[in-house]
Symmetry: C2
Subunit: 309 residues, 2 copies
């Protein structure tokens, strides 16, 4: 009998839900704005209704459960715990909410962990046993794979490279501390970097300049926009070189909107990476972009949390 | 039949060798100055002679092989590879040298990895499945244990926290780069820190002041010596907090001469650690010192490389 799982990718901006089969094909999908739901309970009801309605069209299929990737997701408790970029505060036990509503298995983990798992099963990390997975979005998420397994750590919260402190007393971070990596290396961070460069060069501020806009200006030859990508790439290259010293991965896979800037970002990332690597690691670690469709890695990975077991 | 293994702990200054039984008891031991041997081959001959001579006193015992902990030790190749603080340069295939000389099994790994293994089998990390092991000596070594296993990574070189870049363009490091953690947090580093503080306060330099001497002056109430430990502890606390974000350990175990400074080092380490931890990890991670005799952790761990298999 064929199997389907629900994969859910929860981000600070959007929530994606899909029904996924064992080949990694998404047969049904929907999405919501995260901020539309003040209470997570309300969203869970909408999500369960969607799943049940769609499953009624697949009478010959076994539904094996719900996999969820979410910021600050704790695989041990099945909860989102104190996610700084989420409208839902405190501890949100999403896995048990789905289990209660649908009487099925539900597994929840960090959104970047889920994406890393998707990449390992269906994407650029196939057959790779040691890799880092970095998502460059609103923040910087990460999943660490050692010997073919996601590293969860003692409390389920391993892999928070975005909250490594890069510059002590640096930029304020959503987590309440200062100088975290994600305040320098993310789609949000490049806006700050661009604004700082323009200010330094006595140019007027562009309040709505987001990563896409900065990219367009860089492509059109604007020096400050190019510098913003150069500087972001240099910081990210340093962070990745430092990260290699922990788990010595074979590959680093970058994912998320910011990677669409291509060479504009990747050239300085790779230069800074090789420059900052310890001799032992030089010329051994490949940096590549995700090979999965932009929005599907986390969703496929989330579904894999239940599909693989 | 009883078993014995040879455990060897190679450092930049000393080499320790012991015969170790299955209870973790060292029944025979010797040591050398590392710099006494320009060629590693000469030392291997001395080491093999010692092992063979001592084994002749144990006719009823099975010798199961040689375990070696060494700086930049690569478990996959059994070689020391480009160790910055060693007199032996390039690639030194020690495991195969012992295999050839003694016709036995030989396993080599990073010295800090070996010490971590010793601590897991016989010391402060017993029954602990997720921990970081930090050695504070000439440099800063580290072993990372995830789910009860040492992390070796793709190429066998995982766990080089001492060569994470803490301050870009900072202090020159033996590895050829600048700003590495071990240039700020190690027995060598505190000498530089102390000298810098004295210089800043317009005090004369004390050329031979080592960590022990600085400790004595701090105990005697000297402000600059106390500041050197305070500053070293603050840096180390930050590094450890950042490291938790990778593998989310239950414990961090500190080892090495510098830990004998006790509260003078540990108080600022713990304060800085909790201050710099991401909310998710706060009050969850214990920092303790090794419970093994100072010089034996790496030797016992090295022996464990063959004893446990």
């Amino acid at each position: 009998m064929k199997k389907l799982a629900a994969g859910i990718d929860i981000g600070g901006t959007n929530i994606l839900l899909g029904l996924v089969n064992e080949k990694g094909e998404i047969t049904e999908r929907t999405s919501w704005k995260t901020t539309s739901f003040t209470l997570p309970e309300d969203w869970v009801i909408s999500a369960c209704s969607f799943i049940q309605e769609k499953l009624s069209h697949y009478p010959d299929v076994t539904f094996i459960g719900v996999g969820i990737g979410a910021p600050n997701g704790n695989v041990h408790s099945g909860s989102i715990e104190h996610a700084p970029n989420m409208p839902w505060k405190g501890i949100v036990p999403l896995a048990s909410m789905f289990e209660n509503n649908l009487s099925c298995k539900a597994v929840l983990t960090n959104d970047a962990n889920a994406a890393a798992l998707g990449e390992m099963l269906f994407g650029a990390a196939k057959n790779c046993r040691h890799f880092l997975y970095i998502t460059l979005g609103t923040g910087l998420g990460s999943g660490i794979v050692v010997d073919g397994k996601l590293v969860y750590g003692h409390d389920g919260f391993a892999g928070e490279i975005g909250h490594v402190i890069l510059f002590p007393d640096g930029r304020p971070c959503g987590c309440g501390r200062k100088g975290c990596v994600e305040t320098y290396c993310s789609a949000t961070a490049i806006k700050t970097t661009y604004a700082e460069i323009r200010q330094k060069n006595a140019l007027p501020a562009i309040p709505d300049a987001d990563a896409k806009y900065i990219y367009q200006r860089a492509i059109n030859g604007e020096k400050e926009a190019k510098q913003a990508f150069q500087q972001t790439g240099e910081w990210l290259g340093l962070v990745l070189a430092n990260s290699v010293a922990y788990t010595s991965p074979e590959k680093i896979i970058l994912f998320g909107g910011l990677t669409q800037a291509g060479d504009l970002l990747m050239n300085p990332v790779k230069q800074s990476f090789e420059k900052n690597l310890l001799q032992n690691y030089k010329n051994k670690v490949a940096i590549t972009c995700s090979s999965l469709p932009e929005n599907d890695a986390a969703l496929l990975g989330a579904a894999s949390l239940v599909l693989q077991s």
